[in-house]
């Protein structure tokens, strides 16, 4: 069996979205739609024209779904999700941000091309409704970085973060950044009105706050206008967290986050 073409995938997506909308179980389905130069998130309703549905590039879907569910507490919504987006939703559910019972999802497996662009080790959801499963790959940048000495690493990150323009895009794009007040905007931790932000406090505060939640969706790195390879840092932290605590973010809604000692 050959690889699916984009038009075959889109046809499969239209059928799956139409079926979910026609089931009457959801108010609408959050998916991507072509708006101007490319895809943008959109809430489709039953009877809508689905000809302009789109697949790629992806957006921070868990964060947007969270916003839509919070704004309308009585509705159930459908959503098209990839592997990282399912894992992101699971982490949000564990942190009481979304209620999985209010979500019906269509699981989308990423193509090899999409996986390569994200250097993704897990490019498929737990249930594949459309697309064909491709295996994950190890992140070559992470491996390369792990082989550096401590001094070389420090030097690497000092150079990378010297380009930071403190735009908060990494925080703003991140589906797992949902705090009402953010430490990165608190003068006690990050001095206001100063560019570039102090190394390494700004970046390490953010890095530590992703531990146990970051599912490697790459939205921060893709949003960074300075091109800083943020996920390399986060992935290395998660390797440590996995080795020390046996915790894999987003793997199961049952797993307790590593900082929770017991279920209260």
């Amino acid at each position: 069996m050959g690889e699916q073409t984009t038009s075959q995938r889109l046809e499969q997506l239209r059928d799956a979205v139409r079926e979910l909308l026609d089931s009457g179980n959801v108010e609408g389905v959050l998916a991507l739609r072509i708006v101007g130069p490319g895809p943008a998130p959109h809430l489709f309703h039953a009877g809508d024209d689905l000809s302009d549905l789109a697949l790629w590039p992806k957006y921070q879907i868990p964060k947007l779904l969270d916003m839509l569910l919070a704004a309308n507490p009585d509705v159930r919504l459908g959503v098209v999700i990839r592997g990282c987006e399912e894992r992101g939703l699971i982490e949000l559910a564990k942190h009481n941000q979304v209620d999985m019972d209010r979500i019906e999802w269509i699981g989308l497996a990423c193509t090899a091309e999409e996986r390569d662009e994200c250097r993704c080790h897990w490019p498929y959801p737990s249930r594949i409704d459309m697309g064909e499963k491709v295996e994950g790959i190890a992140d070559a940048l992470v491996k390369e970085h792990a082989d550096l000495s401590l001094e070389e690493r420090m030097d690497f990150w000092r150079r990378q973060f010297s380009r930071c323009i403190k735009c908060y895009a990494c925080r703003t794009a991140c589906p797992q950044c949902f705090c009402e007040s953010c430490m990165l905007e608190d003068d006690k931790w990050v001095e206001t009105g100063v560019m570039t932000p102090a190394f390494p406090s700004y970046h390490l505060i953010r890095a530590y706050h992703t531990v146990g939640k970051c599912v490697g969706c790459m939205e921060c790195e893709k949003a960074c206008p300075a091109g800083i390879p943020l996920t390399v840092l986060y992935k290395l932290l998660h390797q440590d967290a996995e080795e020390l605590f046996g915790y894999v973010p987003g793997a199961s809604v049952e797993d307790l986050p590593p900082l929770v000692i017991e279920d209260l």
Binding site: H42, L43, K166, A169, P225
Partner: protein
Amino acid sequence: MEYKNVLSTCVYCGTGCELYFQVLDGKIVGTLPAKGQHISKGQLCVKGWNVHSFVHHPDRLTTPLIRDRKDGDLREATWDEALDRVASEFTRIREKHGPDAMGFLCSAKVSNEANYLFQKFVRAVIGTHNVDHCARL
């Protein structure tokens, strides 16, 4: 419940980053970068990410304000009244002191076409080269 994204261009500088306004039930609730666009490639700076925040802001002026006396308070006015006042004051100053007595500042927040029209108005109608814009400040 309606949620859609509307394509727009960032108004904060002249780069032209395209972005989407997230519209939830008729209100703009956020900004997303336009990932399919070639100029900004799905990336925005801090101003771009927050460009929606003035749209529904309670402090936003939605009607012209006129000050009748030098030390008087601003009062709300109609667009017709405000434009009549501007036209009569431009004419008065130009006749009394000449066109170079006035300077004109345009904006990076408006389109190329609006900026073109503005400088044309300043040079051809008012008659001065005293024209500049905020992106050069």
